[in-house]
């Protein structure tokens, strides 16, 4: 089994390096095919491991020492257990699809080879992240995906906005990483190890306040990667990257790393339900918050990004409430349909020459049938309509919050579910239905390559059927996660809830269709203050820009020009200048005149005599 583990882990790396060989040369198809094939191999190995692990076995290897100093001992160790295998499956499946899809999507791009190198490198980092058996290894992957995300968001580096977004994403993530690092330090100094098993085994013996700190700091790390408020702004801006990247990184895998971390560290969070509750609240808040922004946005990818954010909020609610397997399940389901949604959006963008405003589209269902079907499927899944994946996973989270008696959370999540349905179908309606507005702008849409659609189809399939695996999954994953089944015991309530929710969601969908089937300018709404707030994303980006970025820049300049140059350095120069100036000023004493020289001698004599007189008088007085 170890061999499969290594294959699953390193195949993407090999792919990345292979593509990197062609990094500086013009487009080479093989640079796309080989990494894709390798990823498929990685997927197969993961599958083998899944089959192996599903019965409760765990594959654990220690490849080599990484760091050892003093008592610290960190190996490159990898573990394939039920949790990580889930993630591996998600990662390999989605990434294989995205790779194949990208061969078509990036067809005309100059940076084709570079793209695959980065993309495979990302997959490798993600695999390290999920497979590592210790926090340090997790951190490697954690930073690695950050790096690749930077490279991929800023992939079109000639665009100012892209590079800006890349840097923003990296820096935001770094802020969170600091929290994570501190969490790791705390773990090390309190347990003497960073290996998951050892840490968790000792955790119960650690002072609860420290466990709380650990929980908080680790969660700060998770907040950055999963773009939770207030570190969420980067995710929307990250849409500057190529769409496959958004599908893979900013929907399916990387952003869910935070959820994975919380799930992975469940023995810690189990000890500190208060922190868990906070996580859940924040999750619910973000779910609502992000969904609200998606309601009015006019950028196709940003809408989907906010939807991702919103869904991450859901996952955190589940994780925070201790329903780790639910969170993980939603993570998986979400990965499939959200990636599908993004890839569909990619097709649309391709067709529309990278136009992102859905108000300039409309009626595309005729020219892009395949895409239309798949995106609609994905949206239905996202909205949580039975029997698609979203229903099983998302409604479960609603149930969890209900069962745990967090009714406020429940209400928030329910409302958010409605909003989700609304904005999803607003998008579908705007893109695929109604008039063919694009003609006004002179676009000539066309369907994407066949194989791109074929590549997407596994995702579509999974988006449809993933819910069916719920029980199998439950049994597998609860071998290491807390085995809590969430059932509303009163069947009456259960049915009312389920059907009610379904109806509510469908109502929202219908409202969205009605409202956006025919597009008309609604000035009144746009001048509404609520609309403005939402449209400006609650003014948070501007806030950050005005009150963080600009002051930082200004302060840096002041530090340099005014403090470093005018105070610190000037002081040093002043010390030197004092000596030099004293010399310049007093060298006149040596005026070459013999009389003054003689007088100086006498001055010296007289001064010494004066001191002598003072001293001898003083001695005389003391003696007398």
């Amino acid at each position: 089994m170890e061999m499969y583990l290594y294959i699953a882990l390193f195949a993407p790396l090999v792919g990345s390096l292979f593509a990197a060989l062609f990094g500086a040369s013009p487009k080479t198809l093989i640079a796309g095919i080989v990494p894709s094939a390798l990823l498929f191999i990685s997927f197969l190995s993961s599958l083998v491991l899944l089959v192996h692990v599903i019965d409760g076995d765990v594959v654990h290897v220690e490849m080599m020492t990484w760091m050892a100093a003093g008592d610290l001992y960190i190996p490159f160790g990898f573990v394939v257990d039920q949790v990580s295998v889930t993630m591996m499956m998600v990662v390999t499946v989605v990434s294989t699809v995205v790779h194949v899809y990208s061969i078509g999507y990036m067809d005309h791009d100059k940076g084709f080879n570079r793209f695959f190198s980065w993309l495979s490198a990302f997959v490798f980092s993600m695999m390290v992240l999920v497979m590592s058996d210790n926090f340090a290894g997790l951190f490697i992957g954690w930073e690695g995906v950050g790096l690749c995300s930077w490279g991929l968001i800023g992939f079109w580096y000639h665009k100012e906005s892209a590079t800006w977004a890349a840097n923003e994403a990296f820096i935001m993530n770094r802020i969170a990483d600091l929290g994570m690092l501190i969490g790791i330090f705390l773990i090390y100094w309190n347990t003497g190890s960073l290996q998951y098993d050892k840490v968790f085994a000792q955790m119960s013996g650690v002072d609860i306040s420290i466990v709380t700190m650990i929980g908080i700091f680790l969660f700060i790390g998770a907040m950055g990667k999963s773009a939770q408020f207030p570190l969420h702004t980067w995710l929307a801006d990250a849409m500057e990257g190529p769409t496959p990247v958004s599908a893979l990184i900013h929907a399916a895998t990387m952003v869910t790393a935070g959820v994975y971390l919380v799930v992975r560290a469940n023995p810690i969070y189990d000890l500190i339900p208060d922190v868990g509750y906070f996580i859940a609240c924040l999750g619910a808040f973000v779910a609502m918050f992000a969904a609200s922004m998606a309601l009015v946005n006019r950028d196709m990818k940003r809408i989907i990004a906010y939807s991702t954010l919103s869904q991450l909020g859901y996952m955190f609610v589940a994780a925070g409430l201790g329903a780790y397997w639910v969170a993980l399940f939603h993570l998986m389901a979400h990965a499939f349909f959200k990636a599908l949604l993004f890839l569909g959006a990619g097709n649309v963008m391709h067709a529309m020459n990278d136009e992102l405003d859905p108000f300039k589209m409309g009626g595309l269902r005729h020219t892009m049938k395949g895409t239309f079907i798949m995106m609609t499927l994905a949206s239905v899944a996202l909205a949580g309509i039975f029997p698609l994946a979203g229903f099983f996973s998302k409604d479960l989270i609603l149930e969890v919050s209900f069962i745990e008696h967090h009714y406020i959370l429940y209400t928030v999540l329910l409302l958010t579910a409605g909003m989700t349905a609304f904005y999803s179908f607003r998008l579908i309606a705007l893109i695929f239905h109604g008039e063919e507005r694009y003609k006004l702008f002179g676009f000539h849409p066309h369907e994407a390559y066949k194989y791109m659609l074929i590549a997407m189809s596994p995702l579509a399939l999974l988006a449809v059927i993933a819910g069916a695996f719920k029980m199998t999954y439950f049994e597998m994953v609860t071998k290491i996660l807390p085995m809590t089944e969430y059932h509303v015991h009163n069947p009456m309530v259960y049915w009312i809830m389920t059907i009610g929710t379904q109806l509510f969601v469908i109502a929202c969908i219908l409202y969205a269709y009605r409202k956006y089937e025919v597009v008309k300018e609604d000035k009144k709404m746009e001048e509404n203050i609520g609309y403005k707030i939402l449209w400006n994303q609650y003014y948070i980006p501007r806030l950050y820009d005005e009150y963080v970025a600009k002051p930082y820049q200004e302060l840096s300049r002041i530090f340099w020009k005014d403090i470093d140059m005018k105070v610190v350095d000037a002081t040093v120069d002043m010390v030197a200048n004092v000596f030099y100036k004293t010399g310049e000023k007093t060298r006149g004493m040596q005026n070459g005149n013999l009389s003054s020289m003689l007088q100086w001698m006498v001055v010296g004599l007289v001064v010494m005599l004066a001191l002598a007189a003072v001293y001898s008088i003083a001695t005389a007085l003391v003696a007398g």
Binding site: Q590, G592, N593, L594, S595, L598
Partner: protein, 102 residues
Amino acid sequence: MMEIGLNHYLVLSTILFAIGLLGVMRRRNLLMLFFATEILLNSVNIAFAAISHFYGDLSGQMFAFFVIAIAASEVAVGLGLLVVWFKRSGSIDLETLKSMRG
């Protein structure tokens, strides 16, 4: 007051020495400056002789003797220098000795 002791001589010597210092400081003519240096040495000689007398010890007189010898040789060298300088510059005024400074 009327009993002349060693201190009287010392005070006298000091006063003379101070006059010599005064001259050294204020004279601008090199020759006259040299006069002042003679006063310095002479004033000391009085004190040496006096101490020698009051202590009944000859060393002081010896010292004074050598001081005279030294004064004499200084005059020779000093005048020699002045002569060359005068030949060069036509002046023995201190003001001419200002080519080096700073």
